[in-house]
Amino acid sequence: MHEFLKFVKRLDWTLLLAILAISILSLMIIASATHANNGQYSFVIKQSVFLLVGLCAAGVLTYFDFHLLDKYAKIIYVVNLVLLVIVKFAGTSALGAQRWIQIGPFTLQPSEFAKLFMIICLARLLSQHPEGFHTWKSLLPVIALMGPPFVLVLIQPDLGTSLVFAAITFGMLYVSGFSMKIVKQIMAVFVVSLPAIWFFLLHDYQKMRIRVLFDPNVDPYGSGYHVIQSKIAIGSGGFFGKGLFAGTQSQLNFLPENHTDFIFSVVGEELGFVGAMFLLFLFFIVLYRTLLIARNTTDRFGSLMAVGIMSMWLFQVLINAGMTLGIMPVTGIPFPFMSYGGSALVMNFMCVGLLMNIFMRRQKLLFE
């Protein structure tokens, strides 16, 4: 008991409380978006169960020494690839993409877990190269590692998640001493190849989503519909919002996917500017504390994992909230800890567990 108390005391409570606050806010908003006031509790109940599962997973990942992951990284990498291949060949599809594996009554979304797995694997690889990455050649191992899962996710198709991989990779490389010269070269190549990407790589629906970003009215009842309705929802929320369960856009179903990808719109509509800013503030704490953990950890592997997690969350918040606000294209990237979905929530809590683990073992001397 005494041991346990000591363990609990050493947790990063600032981070944990912020996360829990976001999770509770999430349950309230999901309840509103799925009409729990009309007796439809199934989404809230499911998400609550996922939350408990997530907390348990976080507990498990906090308890053992994260250095074990270093040893099992190869296995994790293989398991990850196997899962992604299974999705491709035996997964269930919905909304035009094949992203889920049916396991009994649950559907598992391996690409969510793939994010964490890739953070672990990449952290291991980068931690073995303390000299940094100053040449294109030195990047080859990174590309070799990230390439296969990136491609597997991209062909689901899930461009959003593969972009998250890219963001994670960039963030982790950046703190590993990634040469800015290479960054600039990559940028240059990207800009030059933009026309090629537009004409040869993007699907028509993806092109439409980008066009819609600049003018949602080019396709107001197709690709533009979500963005238009989301903007109306958020904008009409005003300063104090319309109140929980009282947002006309979400309650009258004008806003589709309002419990998953567009949950931030519901926050904006029902809780207003005050509520949305409060949520962003909570995220500031989460991201700041995560960065602090990365910074204060002497262990390079742990530090890199924290940066990877931080990059993932930051990128997802930017893309998801940006999408609901009409400044980012529509992609299926969920809002961390907010959007309804078990795989994402459990994975995010596993990240929290890992962060706690790293936080508690930031100075080897303090431990044991």
Partner: protein
């Protein structure tokens, strides 16, 4: 939550580290991302908040037009001639007209309402610019209505509206008189000259058109909060509707129906004898007021078809029908009056003292100056005025014409209103024409011949009248010389039942014929209906003393048959005029219809126990309270 003095300490330590700047940069990135999102929130929620608020209301609040029910038309006994009932319509709401409707949805709707997809598309395309919800299908069944309402996701763009539907219990017996209604088109303007809202029902013909400003109500709307699939969630009050004014007609639906039935029956009979009858007209009028008791024009149309939405094919059939069912023959068609005109010749002759009732003239079968003959070639020998009228002798009236000359004849005819509109409160009335020397000179640049005076004296030549004009002529004879303006609307009601407007009988002139001479003419007309008279075959035993005149008018084709009567002879209450177009058989085709109408009026024969009836399914008060979406 965050220990505030930790931040500078943390940044301090950053500086000492090798990767110091990189962590700082990430910190900047976090702050930058969150600030961009926050700024965007501020812009949308605070600065542009009111714009988005109105957009959100526009999403959820739908202005549903509520159509005002048209005023009810009652006959003189309070029977409904034109009413409204609630009907379900499939409507494409105004807000949705710009939507791109999927082919799947159109196909489903096409199946459901039995209307080709191309027609639906055409209808939507044609009405894209007009203001208001577009009715795709009118008066659909409750099954169709529930299908659409219950499967909202299958029909996101269409709604069911309850709209008042115009109903005519008399079916085609109302026809051209009541007229019909239809949706206002882009060229129709209301009383103030403004275009109508799409789907507004306006009168297109007959009384519906003539009294449209009173009959049409004021449309209102209601505000309904709907969800994304258009299901109503809440209703707010909008602009209230006001119903149109109810109108009381002088018509008597019993006589109206009797006339219609009798004409149909007679047409069937004539058809079996291979007659080429192309139409018929019947009108009953109160000679003491000018009130129209019945007015039928055959062939007719069922006004109900128009309210339910007439198809292009049906419309084509109607307007291309060689017998012109759209024409109200009673007021819009002109015919030679034939022998029925003889009362005018008689008036002129008696009034000018060119003869006396007792003077006897020898009828050898033809006139001694110009060998014009009687219709059937008869020769009646020595006859006086009464004999001539009863037997409809032509030679006698040729002689009257000769003695009068065309000018005096024309003047008397004009005094009776021939060649002039009666001024009835219906659209499309014709004036007809009275034969005269001036007319011939003006139109044909030829001078007048005596033979033409002969023709004019027996109602041929260039004289053309409407059946209604003859009703006015015989009313004047029956009532002692007063020309009444015929009218069909006796009053317009306010919503509380008090009169807004009352139309009283209107004398527009008197005929220059003395009471004595009118009495002589009446007595002669009584003789027509007695044994030996041309109407005796039908009316000699009639329980009500009746007077009248037959007529066989020559046309370019088969003769028209006329029969005119008024009764009771001593105190006339009703004048009936019936005319059959190209029926042959002279007055014999028209007389049975006159008799049936008289029967209905006096409740004799088969009409002894007849009671008025109108379908009880109508709402007399469809003020639109229950209108709108179900």
């Amino acid at each position: 939550m965050v220990n505030k003095d930790k931040i500078p300490a943390f940044l301090e330590r950053f500086k000492k580290k090798k990767e110091e700047s990189r962590y700082t940069n990430i910190m900047y990135a976090i702050v930058c991302v969150l600030c961009v999102l926050g700024a965007r929130l501020f812009w949308m929620q605070i600065i542009e908040g009111s714009y988005y608020k109105s957009e959100a209301d526009g999403n959820r609040i739908r202005h549903l037009p509520v159509q005002a029910a048209r005023g009810v038309m009652f006959d003189r006994n309070g029977q409904i001639m034109a009413g409204s009932r609630s009907a379900y319509s499939v409507v494409l709401p105004d807000d949705f007209k710009k939507n791109k409707i999927s082919d799947a949805e159109l196909n489903r709707l096409s199946q459901l309402i039995q209307m080709p997809v191309a027609d639906i598309k055409q209808k939507i395309e044609d009405n894209k610019k007009a203001f208001g919800g577009l009715v795709i299908a009118n008066d659909v069944g409750i099954d169709v209505a529930t299908q659409i309402e219950e499967r909202r996701d299958d029909y996101p763009n269409f709604i069911i509206e309850v709209r008042p539907l115009r109903v005519y219990p008399l079916n085609d017996a109302g026809g051209q008189i009541l007229g019909y209604v239809g949706e206002a088109g882009p060229n129709d303007k209301d009383a103030e000259g403004n275009p109508y809202q799409l789907g507004t029902i306006i009168g297109r013909a007959g009384l519906e058109a003539e009294f449209n400003p009173y009959l049409e109500g004021k449309n209102g709307n209601k505000l309904v909060e709907v969800d994304a699939s258009g299901r109503p969630v809440k209703t707010f009050d909008g602009i209230p509707v006001s119903q149109g004014h109810n109108i009381r007609l002088t018509l008597d639906s019993r006589i109206q129906r009797a006339a219609e039935d009798a004409i149909k029956e007679q047409m069937a009979k004539l058809g079996s004898t291979s007659s080429f009858a192309t139409g018929a007209s019947a009108v009953a009028m109160d000679p003491q007021t000018g009130a129209i008791l019945a007015m039928v024009s055959w062939p007719s149309y069922d006004s109900n078809h128009f309210s339910q939405g007439i198809t292009a094919a049906e419309w084509k059939d109607l307007i291309n029908n060689p017998n012109h069912p759209m024409q109200n023959r009673t007021i819009s068609s002109v015919y030679p009056p034939g022998s029925t005109f003889k009362v005018i010749t008689a008036s002129a002759a008696l009034e000018s003292h060119v003869t006396t009732p007792g003077e006897r003239i020898f009828d050898s079968g033809k006139h001694w100056l110009i060998p014009k003959r009687n219709a059937q070639g008869e020769a009646f020998g020595w006859i006086n005025f009464y004999d001539a009228m009863a037997k409809s002798d032509n030679v006698y009236f040729y002689e009257m014409g000769r003695r009068l000359g065309i000018d005096r004849l024309s003047a008397m005819a004009r005094a009776y209103g021939i060649g002039r509109k009666t001024g009835i409160d219906l659209p499309g009335e014709a004036a007809g024409n009275m034969a005269s020397a001036e007319y011939k000179k003006k139109v044909f640049h030829e001078s007048w011949y005596l033979g033409e005076t002969f023709d004019a004296a027996i109602g041929q030549s260039y004289t053309l009248v409407t059946p209604l004009q003859m009703a006015v002529v015989y009313s004047a004879i029956a009532n002692g010389g007063y020309l009444y303006r015929p009218y069909m609307v006796s009053r317009i009601d306010n919503f509380d039942g008090t009169p807004l407007k009352i139309y009283s009988p209107q004398v527009v002139g008197t005929v220059p014929v003395s009471k004595t001479n009118l009495e002589i003419i009446r007595r002669s007309l009584r003789g027509v209906m007695q044994p030996g008279g041309t109407g005796g075959f039908m009316f000699s035993n009639y329980p009500i003393p009746i007077a009248g005149k037959s007529g066989t008018a020559q046309t370019h084709g088969v003769d028209n048959g006329w029969f005119i009567a008024f009764a009771p002879y001593d105190k006339p209450q009703i004048v009936v005029v019936v005319m059959f177009e190209h029926s042959g058989f002279g007055s014999q085709s028209a007389a049975p219809v006159v008799k049936k109408m008289m029967d209905a009026y006096f409740r004799v024969g088969s009409y002894q126990n007849a009671t008025a009836d109108t379908s009880a399914t109508l709402d007399t008060d469809t003020s639109g309270k229950e209108g709108g979406q179900i």
